[in-house]
């Protein structure tokens, strides 16, 4: 099923918007995580944890799901396909991995944000650093951007088989 050019542009616009939004909010999340780790101000540490929880659940998770969904729609609605080219397949796997890890990790962030809201100021320094997950996630998202822009060559066996079938038809 191939999309019409107008529909394809609409889907592409949505996919780019959600994906760029995802990267942007992860960068903002890193800034909050840095504030939570380095600030000496107790109110700032509490606010940063609460903001990380809200940003994560209400912005980053929906954007990641929307990016994954629009990416799948784009692949299936164009000649690229979902499993025909290695760059599309790897991009799909990395996006799905990021989304799953994000949703799992956000449960811990919610728990720690709750702890930060209730704990005495003296104990707030015991909260763990929240830099590893968003930092690693950001690197993976950059790899995904590079794959999308450069589209390195390489057809999968499935993609080659499909192409042969089309040539025969």
């Amino acid at each position: 099923m191939t999309m019409t050019p107008r529909l394809r542009k609409l889907a592409l616009t949505a996919h780019i918007t959600f994906s760029v939004g995802w990267i942007g909010t992860v960068i903002a999340y890193v800034a909050l995580a840095l504030a939570a780790k380095t600030s000496q101000d107790v109110q700032m540490v509490r606010a940063a944890w609460i903001a990380m929880e809200f940003t994560g659940w209400y912005v980053i998770v929906p954007l990641s799901l929307a990016s994954l969904l629009t990416g799948i729609i784009m692949s299936l609605g164009t000649s690229w396909g979902l499993f025909r080219h290695y760059w599309v397949l790897i991009k799909l796997l990395l996006t799905a991995l990021c989304t799953i890890v994000l949703v799992l990790h956000m449960q811990q962030v919610s728990f720690l944000a709750g702890v930060a809201a209730k704990t005495d100021s003296a104990d707030l320094g015991g909260l763990p650093s929240e830099l590893f997950h968003p930092g690693a996630g950001l690197l993976v998202l950059l790899v995904i951007v590079i794959l999308s822009v450069y589209k390195p060559r390489g057809k999968t066996r499935y993609g080659w088989r499909k192409q042969q079938e089309q040539l025969i038809d």
């Binding site: 811990q108 702890v115 763990p128 650093s129 590893f132 390489g154 080659w160």
Partner: protein, 64 residues
């Protein structure tokens, strides 16, 4: 005699399926190394402050 390039191997008019491109092989090796490094850090190193098991232990400690 003309050497066969990677691009030639990827051409669709060959009878056999194309080989996996070099960039995919390199990426897979890098991914495996990173995963092994991450797992070994958790199993043998003292820096294992991330991952699902850490999440669980961390939550249990704070609940007590």
């Amino acid at each position: 005699m003309k050497k066969i390039s990677e691009e030639d191997l990827q051409r669709p008019d060959h009878d056999s399926p194309p080989r996996m491109p070099r960039w995919v092989k390199v990426s897979v090796i890098i991914a495996i190394v990173l995963v092994l490094l991450f797992v070994s850090m958790h199993l043998f190193g003292g820096h294992g402050k991330t991952g699902p098991m850490h999440h669980m232990s961390n939550m249990n400690e704070m609940k007590m």
